[in-house]
């Protein structure tokens, strides 16, 4: 008895190389009529298994395909188009990598990335992800809880906020050669937000090493906030007494607040936040308060006016 594996492909089903190349040439020609058409990608990795424990997922939430998670990115250090980071970040060097932890802590230090990660157990967590631009994904992250590294640094009683800084390296990050943002990119959290068990430092996605375009080697993930809070390629974590300046807030404070909690009731000045398009889906979904994590995080904001503190 033969036991041919199910994914075995008969040679007659394989596209001859000549056709395949023709198709590429056709697409390249068509590309002249819109760069978008060049962004063609195979659907090969769409069925990757997504390891991890689901956190706050709705019954119909399914992990967003690998090609979308790693091909549709906002990472202005590598370009402003969603396809730019994948195209421009491939040669980015993430080793050796140093993370500085300083500010109001008892144990400031410069860590080699390996030493920074070593004391914590790596976890796989599937989170909802909501971009401020009203699209969303479900992402199987791999990483460590942010609280782990903060506790190890021993915040002083005066510390109220945590500031995150992205690498500044215009040689490697072509986007930093134009002044779209006041580089380096910085983000921040209140210390109690940062200590919340859902706040996460990602080092991987889909059980694999984090691709450069997703913020390798170390990227912040705060699932109840808009995606721009997720500082990428982090080189510094600093604890402060006063609220740190954050990149998008500096550019347009009326559009991007410090808190940036997902909130269907508070519109962005240029669009409604009441609904979102899940990447890969046609019909829009209703946006959920705190992106579906209200039970876990609403208590952090008790008594606060969330329309004012957007």
């Amino acid at each position: 008895m033969s036991s041919r594996p199910k994914d075995d492909v008969r040679s007659s089903e394989i596209t001859p190389e000549a056709h395949y190349l023709d198709r590429r040439r056709f697409l390249a020609a068509a590309g002249g009529f819109g760069a978008a058409l060049l962004a063609v990608r195979g659907a090969t990795a769409d069925t990757l298994p997504a390891p991890g424990k689901p956190y706050g997922l709705q019954p119909d939430d399914k992990p967003t395909p690998w090609d979308d998670v790693t091909g549709y990115n906002n990472f202005y250090e590598f370009g402003t188009d969603k396809a730019d980071p994948k195209a421009n970040a491939q040669a980015f060097r993430t080793r050796p990598w140093t993370v500085k932890v300083d500010g109001l802590v008892a144990k400031p230090a410069d860590y080699a990335l390996e030493d920074f990660l070593k004391p914590s157990a790596v976890e796989d967590r599937i989170y909802r992800h909501r971009c401020v631009e009203a699209w969303s994904m479900v992402v199987p992250w791999r990483g460590i809880p942010l609280a782990d590294v903060l506790k190890r640094a021993q915040p002083s009683p005066k510390a109220k906020y945590v500031e995150f800084t992205t690498l500044l390296d215009p040689k490697q990050m072509p986007g930093q050669r134009s002044r779209t943002i006041d580089w380096p990119y910085t983000e921040g959290l209140r210390l109690d937000e940062a200590m919340h068990p859902l706040a996460f430092l990602a080092t991987g996605v889909y059980g694999r090493t984090l691709p450069n375009q997703n913020g390798a080697p170390l990227r912040l993930v705060v699932p109840w906030k808009y995606g721009f809070k997720g500082c990428k390629s982090i080189v510094r974590i600093r604890l402060t007494e006063t609220q740190p300046k954050t990149a998008w807030n500096q550019i347009a404070s009326n559009e991007y607040g410090f808190y940036a909690n997902v909130n269907p009731g508070v519109d962005h000045p240029r669009w409604s936040q009441a609904s979102e398009r899940r990447i890969g889906e046609f019909l829009k979904r209703k946006t959920l308060m705190f992106n579906g994590y209200a039970d876990q995080v609403a208590s952090l904001y008790q008594g606060m006016d969330l329309a004012k503190n957007y």
């Binding site: 819109g34 058409l37 962004a39 659907a43 699209w135 398009r277 990447i279 019909l283």
Partner: protein
């Protein structure tokens, strides 16, 4: 030497070229939405919306470039194709708007009304669209006769306002990178400057020598 007469097949080629992006765009988006391909990337509805908006501006540039091009090259026959290009610009604007209303907002009236009442860049875009409707409706030779040449020309000067509103709409809609809208602003400014310079020159020539 510049061809004095229109090359054979020029009109047909122009129409085919103007149709092509629309057909590619519709086919690409349909494939992405229905079959999960990624010709327009991971968010085909947003990308398609932007694509048709870009093509509206490109066709507007082509329409407004006819007059300077005719002046510079002396190819008078180019003028015959201006109306056609203008109508294509209107068609792309309709595709842009339909993508927004049907596919992006999905005819959610609360959101459509809210956008129109609260979002300045939507208001600017809708104003440009509203201004373009009378131009499309009066594009026929019969409409020119009915209105009379002077009045028709006056009405169709609105195309400059539409171009400016289009660029402003684009400028306001981008988050940070204004390269695209800036490029269109420069091109439209050049096309307008040509006309202003020509009008000034013509007036000077018409004035009696002192």
């Amino acid at each position: 030497m510049a061809p004095r007469a229109e090359p054979r097949g020029f009109g047909a080629a122009l129409v085919a070229l103007a149709w092509l992006p629309a057909l590619l765009g519709i086919a690409g988006m349909a494939s992405d939405v229905l079959h999960g391909t990624r010709y327009f990337g991971s968010n085909p509805i947003k990308a398609g919306e932007h694509y048709f908006g870009q093509w509206t501006l490109r066709l507007l540039v082509a329409t407004l470039a006819i007059t300077p091009l005719r002046g510079v090259t002396g190819w008078q026959w180019l003028g015959r194709h201006r109306r056609r290009l203008g109508l294509f610009a209107f068609a792309y604007l309709m595709l842009h708007w339909l993508t927004y209303a049907l596919l992006d907002v999905q005819l959610d009236w609360t959101e459509l009304r809210g956008d129109l009442a609260k979002r300045p860049y939507i208001m600017v875009g809708m104003l440009a669209l509203a201004l373009m409707i009378p131009l499309a409706l009066t594009s026929s030779a019969a409409a020119i006769r009915r209105l009379g040449g002077a009045r028709w020309r006056g009405l169709h000067r609105l195309v400059y306002a539409i171009a400016i509103l289009g660029v402003v709409h684009y400028w306001m809609s981008v988050k940070r990178d204004v390269t695209g809208p800036l490029a269109y602003a420069i091109v439209f400014a050049a096309l307008l400057a040509y006309r202003v310079a020509k009008a000034v020159r013509d007036r000077q020539r018409a004035a009696p020598a002192a």
